[in-house]
């Protein structure tokens, strides 16, 4: 498998984010095993220490747990915990910026929500 890593963020962080995204998307369910360090290292052609570091962060964040002799597993409640922290992060960091941008562009949130992602945003806005 080939993936392009971003040079401004350490690879172990990017790997962690991928696992987090997979848990949020349901590609990894609670109780599912994570692929082994060796497997990920070989597939992505990265050092095993990098993979271990990413996994250790997930353990520290209480999203996965190490089961002796079996490997890493997604903890029960990991998705809920992630959703909670991601929602909080969205409201704290992204929403204020998004809100400011909608206002600057004169877009009406109610119209956008009613019309969904294909909305032209015209109705109800003062053009």
């Amino acid at each position: 498998m080939t993936i392009t890593w971003n040079d401004s963020v350490p690879i172990y962080r990017q790997l962690r984010e991928r696992v987090v995204a997979m848990i949020l998307d349901g590609a990894l369910n609670e109780g599912d095993p994570l692929p082994s360090v060796r497997q990920v290292a070989a597939d992505f052609q990265i050092n095993p220490l990098t993979v271990s570091k990413a996994y250790q962060e997930l353990v520290d964040d209480q999203l996965v747990e190490k089961r002796r002799g079996l490997g890493m597993f997604v903890i029960d409640g990991a998705r809920e915990a992630l959703l909670k922290s991601e929602r909080e992060r969205f409201l704290r960091e992204e929403w204020p910026a998004l809100f400011a941008r909608l206002q600057r562009l004169g877009l009406d949130l109610k119209t956008l929500l009613r019309e969904g992602p294909d909305s032209t945003g015209n109705e109800g806005s003062q053009s």
Partner: protein, 285 residues
Amino acid sequence: MNAVVTATGLSKTYKNSIALNDVSFRIESGRIVGLIGPNGAGKTTALKAILGLTDFKGELNVLGFDPRTQRDQLMEQVCFIADVAVLPRWIRVREAIDFVANVHPRFNRAKCEAFLARTKLTPNQRVKQMSKGMIVQLHLALVMAIDARLLVLDEPTLGLDILYRKQFYQSLLEDYFDENKTIIVTTHQVEEIENILTDLMFIRDGRIVLDTDMDTVGERFVEVMVSAEKAATARSMRPLDERQVFGKSIFLFDGADRATLESMGEVRRPTVSDLFVATMKGTYA
């Protein structure tokens, strides 16, 4: 930590050139070390010294042995793949396996055969009927089945296409490497292995000019892209290198304050190739 290789004041002079000039370094167990340098910098000489294939001045300890006087004991623990194919052209796959099984006490035949089963090689095939990539597959199968503590790779993927190159490193990571093993690799295709490495050594004109682990590389070296008006400020901070892209200047710094750099423009970690080019400037001039 456990040192696998310790070199102190290593020097080697050929008739009229210095290949290694008072080189000292240490390689720990469980690392994957990239020894990177331009042609003629001394890479192969350093590897030959480690393998006991050449005489040298200075001190060298490999897995507790002196490669000059204890080569037999050392060779039980060390494996080697060189850019020069060493498998005889007439040998068949099964003969090569028999040979290694007879001479190497730590060879695991089942492991070798399991690895070969995943390739297109057949037991009766001769080396002369194989492509370069297939020969390397056979060589790798023989080597990976040996439970050695140190694996030395000198341009192992030279001349292979990208599929064989990827497969080569993938096999090493999947079936060979663990925290008790150590790999030293030289290659010119740095970008393909930079994420695999734990440590980086640059060698130039017989001297080690950079010797650091990859985490430190990310902390020490920073590239910053600045617009024209800030270029003079950046230049005054003594960058290692400067290049121009799309009307902006990219500066490479060693150990500069990250916060200062972030205030000047977009920062990123340089690739090993960028670092290499900057470090080796003027080598062929």
